[in-house]
Structure formats: C-alpha cells, structure tokens
C-alpha cells in the first residue's frame, strides 16, 4: 500500500511564502482563501521574532521559526469521520480529499479540523486572472475546499507544487509505507514533530526540528516545463509500473503506485 506523506524541514524553511503562492496558483484557490499558509512562530506578526534584542541588559533571546501549515492529511482524520455525506474521504493512498459534487457545505469538517486547514466558499469564488490559474477546476460557491497534496499531479507521477517549487528544498513528499523513501528515512533519522500531536489525529505531515536535513533530493537539473515528449512518455511508463531511464527528473511518487493501487 502507498501512504503519502510530507516532511517539512523547518530548519531549511526560509519563510519566503513560495509554497503558499504556488499552491494558490496551482490549485486555482480563490481570492481571500489559502490552502497553504506559512505561519511565523515567534512574535505577534509575520516575520517577527519573540524575545528581546541583546542590548540594554536585555536577554537577547530572539527566536523565530516558520511553520508552513496546510491540510495535514491525518490518518485519524476528524474531518473524514464527521462528514455526514462521505464528501470528505481518505483515498487508498492516504490523501484526504473532498468530492466537491457531494459536499453540501454543512462545515462540520471545519469544526472538526484542529488545524483550521479548511476554507469555505462563502460567495462566488473570485480569481485573478478571472479565468483562474493552474490545473484544477474551480470549486463552486457553498462548498468546503482544502489542500489535496496536489493529487492531480501525484496521479501524473509528479510531486505536489509546493514541494517542487520550494527554493529551500525544505519540503519532501513521498510514501510513508516505503522504508526506503526519503520521507521515511528523514522521519527515522531526524527529530520530527506532528502538529498538535496530543489531539491524536496522527498527521501524515512531519516537521523536522533541530538538525537540518539534506533537503529534497534532486536527480535532474531540468524544470518540468523542459521535459520533452520522451520524458512525458517516461512519466506515463512510470505510472504504468515500467522501468524508467536514469535521466530526467525523478519525482518521489513511487512508480508502482502512481495512478492506482492495483
């Protein structure tokens, strides 16, 4: 079985908000809404530390950290259990997803989510440009939406947009059930935390704290837009479980499971 998870290395994160922005673009997230937010753990405002500057006898204990926060794709997801109509469900690959054709907008899932990861389309969603952005269809007024781990990309053998576009390589995506995956290795080798661990939701998102990891491994210097037809064909072969060439970008979506778990 595949069980997708995300490792976020808070020691690598530089708080640039790129993951938040790329998420918004890729997923066509309406104006005024965010699926992915980079929070500042420290002072009262964004990019401000807690503590004092070391002058005038002050302690100089300034401290600040960034915490990118989106749907945690919990194993024991309260939102899935409360959804009265099975609109929110856990896929076989561990991704928590919403069926926007079923959601009736009762917002019980928003009450259930301890992370406030879900947003509701209070009115007709607005986009800039008006036709929207990215590769995902707009969700209608009156339904709840949230991060999908870019399931449309994962199904094509690609990492989520926030992972690919993180300039600090602080986000690593992969199969938690595969002991050889980078995410599994980092979780076993580094100190990782799950957000609000005490709530018992068992998130599939892990935060590295303390020692910095080597970050997201790169196997190619090409951008996705530079992938030729050959590489696209390789991606298809990978999805079908066929062996791939050693060149080209290797997303961390396991070949044998991308596109189905048969």
């Amino acid at each position: 079985m595949t069980n997708y998870g995300l490792v976020i290395d808070q020691e690598r994160c530089i708080g640039c908000q790129t993951c938040a922005m790329t998420c918004k673009q890729e997923n066509n997230v309406p104006m005024g809404q965010f699926w992915n937010r980079v929070l500042t753990v420290g002072g009262e405002h964004v990019d401000t530390p807690s503590g004092t500057y070391p002058e005038d006898g002050e302690s100089g204990d300034l401290d600040m950290n960034y915490q990118p926060t989106a749907c945690q794709h919990c194993e024991n997801a309260p939102c899935v259990k409360v959804c009265p109509v099975n609109a929110t469900y856990t896929r076989d690959d561990g991704i928590v997803e919403i069926d926007y054709d079923k959601c009736m907008g009762c917002r019980y899932c928003m009450a259930a989510c301890p992370y406030n990861a879900r947003v509701f389309n209070w009115d007709e969603p607005e986009h800039r440009p008006e036709d929207g952005t990215g590769d995902v269809a707009e969700r209608p007024q009156g339904v709840v939406e949230k991060c999908t781990f870019c399931s449309h990309r994962v199904e094509d053998g690609l990492d989520p947009a926030c992972v690919v576009n993180c300039p600090a390589d602080a986000r690593i995506f992969g199969d938690l059930d595969d002991d050889d995956s980078t995410v599994s290795k980092y979780i076993s080798e580094y100190n990782t935390e799950q957000l609000l661990n005490e709530k018992g939701t068992d998130p599939s998102t892990y935060y590295v704290q303390g020692k910095m990891t080597p970050g997201r491994p790169w196997t190619s210097d090409k951008l996705e837009t530079e992938l030729g037809d050959d590489e696209a064909a390789q991606a298809t072969r990978r999805r079908n479980g066929a062996p791939t060439s050693e060149h080209g970008p290797t997303p961390h979506v396991p070949a044998e499971t991308a596109g189905g778990d048969d």
């Binding site: 309406p30 104006m31 005024g32 809404q33 965010f34 937010r37 929070l39 500042t40 753990v41 420290g42 002072g43 009262e44 405002h45 964004v46 401000t48 915490q67 926060t69 309260p78 259990k81 409360v82 959804c83 009265p84 109509v85 099975n86 609109a87 079923k102 959601c103 009736m104 907008g105 009762c106 917002r107 019980y108 928003m110 009450a111 259930a112 989510c113 301890p114 992370y115 406030n116 879900r118 947003v119 509701f120 389309n121 209070w122 009115d123 007709e124 607005e126 209608p140 007024q141 009156g142 339904v143 709840v144 957000l195 609000l196 709530k199 018992g200 939701t201």
Partner: protein
C-alpha cells in the same frame, strides 16, 4: 371520566378573533421576510452571514441547539406520567406535544439556511457516513419529529372523531377505541422517553466528539444537553401554557402550574448549579494553586454570555422559584420560565463561542477568513474567531421560528387540546382504568 362522551372537546380557540388574526398576520409577515432573506442569502452565498472561516457556525446552529432542547419539554412531560400510568399533568399533555412538534420542526428547518448547498441535502439519505454524529442527529431528529406527529394525533384522534373532524383520518370514537389508545399511549411513552434522551445526547455529541474545539470535547456535554432540554423545554411549555390560559379557552390548573414551576426550579438547580460546577471545578483546581485562585476561577465566568446564562437565566429564575410565596403566582412562574429559556439560549451561544473563539494554532498571520476580496487589506486574516450575526441571518431565523409559532397557532385552533372534564386530578389506581 374517560367514557366516550361526546361533550365536545373543542379546540381552545373557537375562532382566531381580531387579536389572533393580527398575530397570524405578524407571523405570516415574518415568514415572508424570512423567506425573502433566505432567497437573498441563497443568491449571494453565506457571505451574507457573520460566519467566516474561523467562526464557521453561527446563529443558525446556536438556535438549532436551542430548539432541539425546547422540543423536549412537552414530549417528556406528557409521556413520563403515562409511562408510570399516572394522570398527572394530563391537562398539559396535548399542548406540550404540540409545542414539541413546533420546536423540532423549527430546529430541523434551521439547518437548511446553514448549509451552503441545500440542494444537496438528499445526500444524507443517498450517501450517509454512519460515523458522523450529524448523520445520527439527522436520523433522530426525523424520528423524533415523526414520533411527535404520531403522538399528537394519538392523543387527540378520538376527540377529533367525536367532533367529526377529518383530521381523525377515519378513526371512529368508541369506548373500546379509547381503551386501546391508552395502551398505545403507554407504548408510545415507552418509545418517546429514550428517543428524547437520544435526541439531546446525540445533539450534544455533535460537539462533544470534537477534539479540535476546546471545551466542546467533554464527556459532560451530553448530560448537560439533557439538563438544558429539561430546563428550556419545561420553561417554554410553561410560557405557552400561561399564554394560552390567558388568551384562549385553555385552562392551566393552578396547582399543577405551581408544581411544574417547582420542577423547573429543580431542573435549573441541577443544570446551572450542579452540572456547571461539576464541569468547572476540575479545571479550576488543576490550573490554579492557591485556595482563592481556585475558588475564584471556579465561580467566576469570563464572558457576558456566561453571565446572561447563569445570572439572569439561572440564578434569578432559581431564586424566584425557590421562594414558596413567590412561586404560587402565575406571573412569577411566567417570568422565571421566560428567563430560563433566555438563559438556555445564551448557554448555546456560549458553547459555540468557546469552540470558535480560540484557534489551536494562532501564529501570525493566522487563517484566511475567506470574506469578500477587497484588495490588499490586513483584515483578510484572523488569529481568533469573532462573530456577529447579520440582519439576513436574524431575518431568516425569525422567519423559521414563525413557522413553529404558526404550527402552534394552527394546533390551538384545530386540535382539541383541552380535556373535557378537568376532574383528572391524580388517579390513585394506576390511572388508566375506566371508571
């Protein structure tokens, strides 16, 4: 007394009269305004409410909770004595079930404007997830509503038949039939009591199962919901009975009113004093060290909703009802009952606030509230929940409540709510034998 006499048990309103018609006109107007507001909200979206991403349930759910509780009084009060084969409070039974029915319909209808896509509500039936407390609640609200309809009809059908009303649905009036109905009433009571307990517990569990929302996650929530249903349900029944006594041919037995007032006092003491103390003491004790710190944190609440509930809606009616010289007065019972219902309203408001005011992860900038996009402003984010209902929400809510009031008015006019011979008193022989 229970012979099949045809001394007509008339509806307590023989005609609506000027006052009644005026009141109906007001209710109809409120209903039309409410429908208009709902249409407006459907068109523009829930953006027209005060709810946003952090505070995502508001007035509709607060009043859903209130009206579920209000629907308890009548059904429990009319079925509990029947369960024990007692004739006690028989005079309030029919009116009580009518009020219960009105309230549960209001509660159920309040869900419609709350959901973003009411056109998909059928999904409750076609695609339910039985893990969801909301599915349990949907089921029990439907069942409870049906039970109220059946019970009200069962209580009145022989009298309706005696009057030749078509509402009797071809049931005829006979001594044997009335005897059979008494057995049916007993068995209905047997079902009604656990159904009422289930209704209030399940509604409590909607909140009590949620780890993510502060004080909601407490095993005490379900018992508290039972207690507040007893308080507010009985309170509303007393209010409606006293009003019906004043404005219609309905007569409320003074002795029973006083005795019900006393019962309301006991319920209030259990709810507002005992259960609240049981909820607060462990937290106050665990989080504070000194004796006075523990005591003050145990006794003193922090929000205005808390004081509206425990003070004006708790302590005041409790004192009124605990004073023997006062509680014999109908006006005092009426005031205390109004305050008890009022207090329960604020308890529900407080419950929703305790869940949404604080967020678990409140680091800056917080959560995008998802309001109308107004350019580069900082108020697009929130690190705490705030909520004020809008005029649209209030208009819709009042409109839905007016439906309940219209149902009660129709019942007063067309159903025989009063027993013919108020000789009932308390039967000593178990109560259900014909003399």
């Amino acid at each position: 007394m229970a012979d099949a006499d045809t001394t007509a048990r008339r509806p307590v309103l023989s005609s609506f009269g000027t006052l009644g018609r005026g009141w109906l006109g007001v209710l109809a107007l409120l209903l039309v305004i409410g429908l208009g507001a709902w249409a407006y909200q459907l068109q523009h979206g829930l953006i027209e409410t005060g709810m946003r991403n952090v505070f995502s349930w508001g007035l509709y759910i607060m009043l859903f909770v209130l009206f579920v509780g209000l629907s308890a009084g009548g059904l429990i009060l009319s079925s509990a004595p029947k369960f024990f084969h007692s004739q006690r409070y028989e005079g309030f039974a029919r009116l009580g079930v009518l009020v219960s029915l009105g309230c549960i319909i209001v509660a159920g209808l309040l869900i419609l404007p709350d959901i973003g896509r009411p056109d998909r509500i059928y999904q409750f039936v076609t695609s339910p997830d039985f893990r969801s407390p909301m599915v349990w609640d949907f089921g029990i609200v439907m069942l409870y509503g049906a039970l109220n309809v059946w019970y009200l009809w069962l209580l009145t059908r022989r009298d309706l038949a005696a009057r030749g009303s078509r509402l009797s649905l071809w049931v005829s009036d006979s001594a044997a039939g009335r005897d059979r109905d008494r057995t049916l009433m007993f068995w209905t009571a047997v079902c009604a009591l656990p159904a009422a307990v289930a209704l209030h517990s399940v509604t409590g569990w909607i909140f009590a199962t949620q780890v993510g929302r502060g004080d909601w996650f407490s095993p005490l929530v379900a018992p508290v919901f039972i207690a507040k249903a007893l308080v507010s349900g009985l309170g509303l029944l007393l209010v409606v009975s006293i009003l019906a006594d004043r404005f219609t041919a309905f007569t409320a037995d003074r002795g029973e009113l006083t005795s019900l007032g006393k019962l309301l006092g006991i319920f209030l003491a259990f709810h507002v004093v005992y259960l609240l103390a049981a909820e607060r003491l462990p937290h106050a004790w665990a989080h504070h060290f000194g004796f006075w710190a523990i005591t003050s944190n145990f006794l003193i609440g922090d929000t205005v909703y808390f004081w509206l509930w425990t003070g004006l809606g708790g302590a005041v009616p409790l004192l009124l009802l605990a004073t023997p010289s006062l509680r014999r007065r109908t006006s005092v019972i009426f005031t205390a009952s109004v305050l008890a219902v009022f207090g329960t309203l604020f308890e529900g408001i407080r419950l929703v606030f305790t869940g949404y005011q604080r967020v678990n992860i409140n680091a800056a900038p917080g959560i995008a509230t998802g309001g109308e996009y107004a350019g580069l402003t900082t108020d697009a984010w929130a690190t705490a929940g705030t909520y004020t209902p809008t005029a649209v929400e209030i208009a819709v809510t009042v409109g839905v409540i007016s439906i309940g009031a219209l149902i009660v008015m129709a019942g007063l006019r067309y159903l025989p709510l009063q027993r013919a011979a108020p000789d009932a008193a308390y039967a000593t022989d178990g109560g259900d034998r014909t003399q």
